[in-house]
Symmetry: C2
Subunit: 133 residues, 2 copies
DNA sequence: GTATCTGCAAAAGTTTTGCAATCCA
DNA sequence: TGGATTGCAAAACTTTTGCAGATAC
């Protein structure tokens, strides 16, 4: 993997910007430094970096794929209604998965996370209000 | 939520078909029973069912959103190269998250999962081969 | 009876790709 | 120099939405 200014700036933008950014958000931020950078380059690099395990790729429950520069295992809360992702802000014991299990043979594991999915407070409130109607 | 034949068949297809199906796959399978069902209906129902917590919505690392009829907490392995998702086939202690923590107040949690991401054996092999070239 | 649900078709949104030019090693 | 990388534009793919008619309760 070569060193290019675009790639460096993308990584920097992901690290310094808000967590769980989508490609278009990263693109918008990188443009401040590199006005000419194309969205395709951002996509290509986010994909490349995540395949190398340098960043974390999040699902995209909201339709858009999101990326996370934090590689340490941590928890996420996905809201199914608004699509937002939040880090779970308190610590809890991470599950211990037996990496020596035969099924793991040949696999490369970059990151682990514990994900909860449900409704965030404001969406839960809206949902409850609709029930009443 | 009303009871419709379409909805019932979609749920059935998700339960009986291969796990982690995407909307178009569910649609293809449901068509066997309900040839006239539209893809839009499948999308609408998968979304609705997941918001009610009846099924689980997976991220869509491969671009497509996937759904899972298994609601019990379990682990997934996502391959970043080919986009496939597999259930981790052995059990391990699930993390204990303090649901009484103040941050959890107001949230509705439907399901929890532990996700690993990396490369599956065949993609890991390919990646290693490319390194050598 | 009425709000929900469906099918259709169009629109919207997101990601990938072909290609020629450019850049890094 | 040679292969990796980029920008641009088009294409591909996935998901959502408006609407009129059908359906469940």
């Amino acid at each position: 993997m070569r060193k290019t200014e675009q790639r460096a700036c993308i990584l920097e933008a992901l690290r310094e910007g808000p967590p769980h950014s989508a490609a278009d958000e990263v693109h918008r931020r990188v443009r401040h430094k590199l006005p000419g950078i194309s969205l395709a380059t951002v996509y290509r690099n986010l994909d490349l970096l995540s395949r190398q395990g340098l960043i974390r790729r999040l699902g995209g429950h909201g339709g858009r794929r999101r990326y996370d520069a934090v590689r340490e295992a941590h928890g996420h809360f996905w809201c199914l209604a608004c699509g937002e992702v939040e880090d779970i802000p308190f610590t809890f014991p991470q599950p211990e998965i037996d990496m020596t299990h035969p099924w793991m043979k040949g696999r490369v594991v970059y990151v682990a996370s514990t994900d909860l999915q449900g409704l965030c407070p404001s969406c839960a409130e809206k949902a409850a209000a609709e029930q009443k109607d």
